[in-house]
Amino acid sequence: MLTIIKSGLTTQWTDSGRKGRQLSGYSQSGAIDWFSFQLANALCGNALHSPALEVMAGNIEFSVSIACAVAITGAHTDISINKQNIKNGKVFLLKKNDHVKLGPATKGLFTYIAFSAAFELPVFANSVCAVKREKTGGMQGDGKPIIDGEEFVLINAAQIDDKATRYFGKGGAQTSFTPLITAFIASQFYTHKKLPFSFCYQQSAFSKVDKQRFIAHEFEITQYIDKMGVRLAGPSIHCELTNLISQPMVNGAIQIPGSGLPIIMRNDRQTIGGYPVIGTVNSQGLALLAQATSSQKITFVATDFDTANIWRQLIDLQLKQVLNTTKLRLYA
């Protein structure tokens, strides 16, 4: 049994999102910071897309009724087990009924918590995600986040043997990542982020000057930041198109509404939209943006999709390597 004693601002189960339901207008959903989410699973020895907790802005307390490993990635928070502070532990072993407490997020926005155990979760469209706006998914199927005191029934857990205990040692396992992963984790918490994106969609309806302004100036993240999208403040970008027919929106699409201030669409967005789009933030950029908080600065860096894909393939490979070196298996 997993008990969420305190659920903080918004805590939800997440995974890599729904598949095959956007055609009926359902959001894609899924972990906003797909990188930290997969890393947490890799550290626990889970399949990379297994359900994990997504905590917005920290502040969560929980306990598990069995011994298991827990990995915490993404936004930085103070972590304590039974009121004992844990220093820079990313993955550690919990004894039966240990009380884990995460403080408010000090850096970043979304924290991911993965367990070397599986819990009974309702599935909607092949995913455990809940979408508030749609009132779909989640424990009650109404899209609501986890509430204080909510309990989840255990269905399976990895065997914690002597080898695993030695591996985790005291205060968590020593995690050493490849330079690419280490550098990327660091860049997620820069206060001025460079978001790789590609010009596409209605890009030809923007003048060369406006496109230049778009990549030359920095934008500020406003307070309007949620799982649907992020609104930016900065130079106003003008689009010549005024009456656009609604078109499908992809994850990371940068919409330019009449105000000229960009909105970056995210996982819980609506499937179609009517504003012109200047380009798409690629998956690397989306993982960077996931840990951005309001009033931080960002700059768009133009790249092409093939370059973006190469980076993504490298990261995917290295995440798999992290998983392969974890000495723990849920389905051993």
């Binding site: 956007q22 055609l23 009926s24 207008g25 749609e134 596409c200 027919i245 499908p248 894909n309 993504r312």
Partner: protein, 269 residues
């Protein structure tokens, strides 16, 4: 990639690749592409401009042709008026292979008239016709009606409005805004009117409404700016068999309040 550049009329710029004179493929993210059908011909200025309905039909034809081959890598798709989004699994397949697949699969688009009858057949086989029973003009505290406003604007009696609304087998132009919200068209020209000046904060689930050239059913409670002309007990569930699909058709049938309430009770069970 290099071979593709030799395809006639192909220009590797702005991530766009032409399919036929009206449509092209656009790369819109690492894992997705959009097929877009344009109003005007790219190659010949004298060719007729396509209506939105014709463009939407072409989009559906592309979808039917692609679905007929049921590619493994296709994990999701979205249809919206003149565009079709295809989402693939980047780990399973590369963009240039998807593009090659599309260029060969959609080669048929180039000779539109000859194979039209065949394509229409496949569309019909895939699409499902939803019959939606509507209690037109229902008006109470929780279910307001704009029927009188529509009567006034169109100069028609409510009976004519109901008949006109029922007279068409609607096609699904797009699905979005919220799950199962289908933009249905095209509405009779006599019923076309602008959206509400003051949108409602909450429109009840089952409201049947019209705006511009379109009509729709609100699948669940939501803000809305369309004119409500009736209510239905029909509920789109999360079950795939009653979910709205882009190839589906919709017909409306008038029922009285008794029947509506009976259906509503049945739906609750």
């Amino acid at each position: 990639m290099f071979e593709l550049e030799k395809v006639q009329g192909y220009q590797y710029m702005h991530n766009a690749v032409p399919l036929d004179e009206y449509s092209h493929v656009e790369r819109v993210s690492e894992v997705s592409i959009i097929i877009r059908v344009n109003e005007k011909s790219r190659t010949c200025a004298k060719r007729p401009a396509l209506s939105l309905q014709a463009r939407n039909a072409r989009v559906k034809r592309c979808l039917a042709l692609i679905k007929a081959k049921s590619p493994m890598w296709l994990i999701d798709h979205v249809v919206s008026y003149d565009s079709l989004l295809l989402v693939y699994e980047a780990q399973d397949i590369r963009y240039d292979i998807v593009l090659r697949f599309l260029l060969s699969t959609l080669a048929e688009l180039k000779e539109p008239e000859k194979k039209k009858s065949h394509a229409k057949k496949t569309e019909k086989e895939i699409g499902h016709v939803h019959q939606i029973d509507v209690c037109y003009g229902l008006n109470n505290e929780s279910q307001p009606s704009d029927m009188s406003a529509v009567e006034e604007y169109t100069n028609l009696t409510s009976r004519d409005i109901v008949n006109l609304h029922q007279s068409i087998e609607y096609q699904v132009f797009a699905i979005g805004f919220m799950p199962n919200f289908a933009y249905l068209g095209e509405l009779s020209p006599h019923l076309r009117m602008p959206r509400l000046a003051h949108p409602r904060q909450a429109v009840s689930a089952g409201a049947v409404a019209i705006a511009g050239q379109q009509t729709a059913v609100y699948p669940s409670i939501s803000p809305g700016g369309w004119h409500i002309i009736g209510y239905t007990a029909f509920s789109f569930s999360d079950d795939a068999t009653v979910a709205m699909g882009p190839e589906d058709k919709v017909i409306f049938k008038a029922i009285d309040q008794h029947e509506y309430e009976r259906q509503l009770k049945q739906a609750e069970k």
